[in-house]
Amino acid sequence: MNIDKKIVDDLVANDVSFVTTVPCKQLAGVIEEVENRDEIFHIPSNKEDEGMGLCAGAFMGGKRPMIIMQNTALGVTLNTLATLTQFYRMPLPMLISYRGELREPVSCQVEMAVHTKALLAQLNIPTYHFHWQKDVEEFDNILKYTFMSNKPVAILTDANFWGGYGDQ
């Protein structure tokens, strides 16, 4: 199974047409797939809270948005998640590369990984963790749940899910 293609197929099937991204090595394939699809407007952000602002505007303009980002940036988005996305009750699927988990080669990444689920739990953000490739089968349901509930929802995707880091 090509999980990059499966993820973007689910986005298109759920009418998600506005995607902002901040890159991560693990996410390179899915970002490329987003960029290549005519059904999706892809706008790279310089910072994740900026991207969440773009998504809020796009939602109010009638589009279904999504952000693709790395968990290390979760800290810089807390204020935006609380005072914009949650306060105004807006849906936002967040596809997050879960750096610092099993098969991570870079020790510093672990320092935010140990806080990631705690921060999301503190914000009462529904959180799903994809560890095996088959977990991607839930993605379609998670998107539907996000736009039903009008909440930010986190999908943490670790190195094992993406197939590890090869020779690193």
Binding site: N46, E50, G51, M60, G62
Partner: protein, 184 residues
């Protein structure tokens, strides 16, 4: 002129358009001067007025004006390259540059010192950047809205605030009312 005087002057120009207004006193002033369903008031999230307005402009065809401040743009400087490289003609960014963080007690910003936001915007790749003095803003803003090209306006003015109440409207009501106006 101070910001509230500018907002009073441009209220008739922006009244019929979608406006995303910056957190704090700018939103409170616009709400008091001319509350409209087409106004999206930011109650929090300093720095994101330009991003929210730009996302809105990309998602639909109506003109959108983001009212921002120099301090808020400095908080989210990364917004300018994003706007420049994805320009859309229905978007106007109005930066009211009074050289101070007005809502927090008029502490000076770097935009009131050596930093030129119009030069920053130009360096970021924005093609229509106009720096204007407060008293000359009206016609510049009107032509930016009427134009098919995206415009960044840096309006230089005095710092200073008026006393006024906070916005008590529920954020979900603000958002719903605004989305109905977007669809109308």
């Amino acid at each position: 002129m101070i910001r509230s005087e500018i907002l009073k002057e441009i209220a008739p120009i922006i009244r019929d358009h979608l406006v995303v207004c910056n957190i704090g006193l700018p939103s409170q002033e616009l709400h008091m001067i001319d509350d409209q369903p087409t106004n999206f008031y930011m109650l929090g999230t300093m720095g994101l007025s330009s991003s929210i307005g730009f996302g809105l402009a990309l998602a639909q065809d109506k003109p959108v004006i983001s009212i921002d401040g120099d301090g808020s743009v400095l908080t989210n400087l990364g917004t300018l390259p994003t706007i420049a490289n994805n320009a859309t003609g229905n978007y106007t960014l109005l930066i009211i540059d009074n050289g101070s963080y007005g809502s927090t007690g008029d502490q000076p910003t770097y935009a009131g010192m050596k930093t030129s936001l119009s030069a920053v915007a130009t360096a970021c790749g924005c093609e229509n950047v106009i720096e204007v003095q407060d008293k000359d803003l009206g016609p510049v803003l009107q032509s930016a809205i009427d134009s098919d090209e995206m415009t960044i306006i840096v309006c230089k003015c005095d710092s200073g605030n008026i006393k006024l109440p906070v916005i008590t409207m529920d954020p979900v009501v603000i958002r719903h009312r605004f989305m109905e106006a977007v669809k109308a």
